[in-house]
């Protein structure tokens, strides 16, 4: 069997989630690698939007910034932040990929501070950037992150970006656009979704070599497990070849 790293696994699993002919708002790093891999495998007609204004580029290599010149290389349009975000707000963008320093059981994300005091945090992080916007507007939020107890927490220090908020119908009631919300979580251990009623995080597929207990042990809150939970297909030779040779030959992302 082919050797692969945790990050390669995550990127391959994420890429498979992207429907052909759909649109995705992404940032740099692993999400962008996943979108690029999808374009070269199962979703040739996937259209990528960057928050700074790049719309449907033909990415020649991994961008280093969501506003660098690669993000509108041979693009359909080099627009503005308004152009991208308005498209999201109008309902034109199907997916977004986000990460965060902390995530809770409803898929809410923290990328603002570690610590309880806003003015005197233990660690100051970048803040929302476009994450709150993408997660508010895009139909389906996908989250890619390495999983451990410090990251998967019972309570966020700061809720930067909305997931299902307090579960149940709290997101709908908040006033955010209807029928949006977190869709899948892709970690190094498992693929998760959210139980439709309570909106709690639920394991639906466990990566090769791990058990549900491993997934739960690396999580600071109680996970649900779908009855039909399966074993995740490992990255195929073909996926890995394209990822390593075409998507990220300089190992910017997969080499981390």
């Amino acid at each position: 069997m082919t050797e692969y790293s945790a990050i390669e696994m995550m990127i391959c699993v994420a890429a498979r989630e992207l429907e052909n002919g759909s649109t995705v708002g992404v940032g740099t790093g692993a999400p962008c690698a996943a979108a690029m891999l999808a374009q070269k495998t199962t979703a040739k007609d996937l259209s990528i939007l960057f928050e700074a204004g790049g719309i449907s580029p033909q990415l020649p290599e991994m961008p280093i910034s969501v506003g660098d010149s690669r993000t509108f290389y041979k693009a359909a349009m080099a627009g503005s932040m308004g152009d991208t975000m308005e498209a999201c707000s109008r309902g034109f963008v199907d997916y977004t990929f986000l990460g965060g320093a902390q995530i809770d059981k409803y898929g809410n994300l923290n990328s603002t501070i570690i610590g309880k005091e806003h003015r005197h945090p233990k660690v100051r992080l970048p803040g929302s950037g476009g994450a709150n916007d993408f997660a508010s507007f895009c139909w389906r939020t996908m989250i890619m992150t390495v999983q451990d107890k410090r990251r998967f927490v019972e309570k966020l220090d700061f809720m930067t970006t909305p997931g299902w908020i307090n579960g149940d119908d709290s997101r709908e009631k908040s006033g955010l656009p209807l029928n949006t919300g977190p869709y899948k979580i892709i970690t190094n251990l498992a693929l998760m979704d959210f139980e439709p009623k309570s909106k709690r995080m639920r394991v639906i597929s466990i990566h090769p070599g791990y058990t549900f207990n491993d997934v739960q042990d690396n999580c600071g809150f109680e996970l649900l497990c779908a009855e039909t939970a399966e074993k995740t297909h490992p990255p195929s030779m073909g996926e890995l070849k394209i990822l390593r040779e075409e998507v990220d030959p300089y190992r910017y992302v997969i080499g981390r």
Binding site: S47, A87, S89, R90, D94, P177
Partner: protein, 325 residues
């Protein structure tokens, strides 16, 4: 939110962004070849009862050939955005295409005078009218493009235009000032004429944008008529020039001289003689029907219309005029 005052004009279109989002969610995002002839595009995407908005500015970069085709196909009971509508409205009035209209600028052809046909149709009582201003309609399209139900603007206050609009005045929670809230306008169908587009609908034009970028984004369906098709490679070579992205577009129709007898910047100037003929002949309804038969109903397409009004020679003259030669 405390509404301090509101217009009692009818709001023809639903400003709810969640309803629009459900529509846009289903819209195809794939870069499909959307080229078709104008007849097919109008058959497919312009329905009786739809709310229609026309790009450009009255007789400037206006999809005149599409207006003719709508009349030729006999569309009825449409809503219409009378946003700087001049010759486009004159054509649609001749076909009695619409029965409700958001008015910003109608009936007139600016310095050229008033259209008898448009005037009589609006005076007949058969048309429901809600009043706005040009920038009010621009702001309504902007709100729709932004996916929000309204945008505040500081106009209309104190006037009858407000009373006959469907805007609402409310105070600002930051400053306490009164603001006029313009409800989002999501037209069912927009038709926009451009200089260049690829087969997927990525479109660009030169000169003033008027409100066409917001219009393209706000509309549920978009037909692009273009002076020329260009290659997708040409679009991607210079993505900074793309004004309308492919994913909002449903049909691309190559219509050279598609804005005739209006102006297409950098291409051809308006045919003032022919526009004057329109205004003149409208005054006699029998003559006008003969004129419409000749210029619209009996023409199979825009090329035939142009050839009946001077053809290649006229085209050369108008091009020279545009270039100030």
């Amino acid at each position: 939110m405390n509404v301090l005052e509101q217009g009692h004009g009818k709001l023809f279109m639903d400003p709810d962004p969640d309803n629009a989002r459900e529509f846009f969610r289903k819209k195809k995002r794939k870069m499909d070849n959307k080229v078709m002839d104008l007849k097919t595009a109008v058959e497919k995407f312009v329905n009786d009862g739809d709310y229609l908005a026309i790009g450009g500015f009255g007789a400037n970069r206006t999809p005149v050939s599409a207006c003719h085709e709508i009349v030729r196909q006999g569309r009825k009971n449409m809503g219409f955005a009378g946003h700087t509508s001049t010759h486009d409205m004159e054509i649609l009035s001749a076909g009695k295409v619409y029965n409700r209209i958001d008015v910003a600028y109608v009936v007139g052809l600016e310095a050229r005078g008033l259209s008898t046909c448009s005037r009589q149709y609006l005076e007949s009582g058969h048309v429901e009218i809600t009043e706005w201003s040009n920038y009010s309609l621009t702001a309504r399209l902007k709100a729709a493009a932004m996916g929000v139900p309204y945008i505040p603007v500081r106009n209309l206050m104190g006037t009858d235009t407000l009373k006959y609009s469907a805007a609402k005045i409310a105070d600002c929670p930051f400053t306490g000032k009164k603001l006029t809230l313009m409800p989002a306008l999501y037209p069912d169908i927009a038709i926009i004429h451009v200089h260049e587009a690829d087969i997927y609908g990525n479109a660009r034009f030169k000169g003033i944008a008027v409100s066409d970028i917001d219009l393209a984004n706000a509309a549920k369906r978009v037909i692009i008529t273009t002076e020329r098709l260009i290659s997708h490679d040409e679009i991607t070579r210079d993505p900074s020039s793309t004004r309308i992205p492919y994913y909002v577009v449903d049909a691309v129709c190559e219509e050279p001289f598609g804005a005739y007898p209006g102006t297409m910047p950098y291409e051809y100037f308006s045919d003032e003689e022919h526009l004057k003929e329109w205004l003149e002949v409208e005054k006699d309804s029998e003559k006008f029907q003969v004129f419409l038969k000749k210029n619209i109903y009996d023409c199979k397409d825009h090329e035939e219309y142009i050839s009946r009004n001077g053809g290649a020679k006229k085209r050369r003259e108008l091009r020279a005029k545009e270039m100030l030669l």
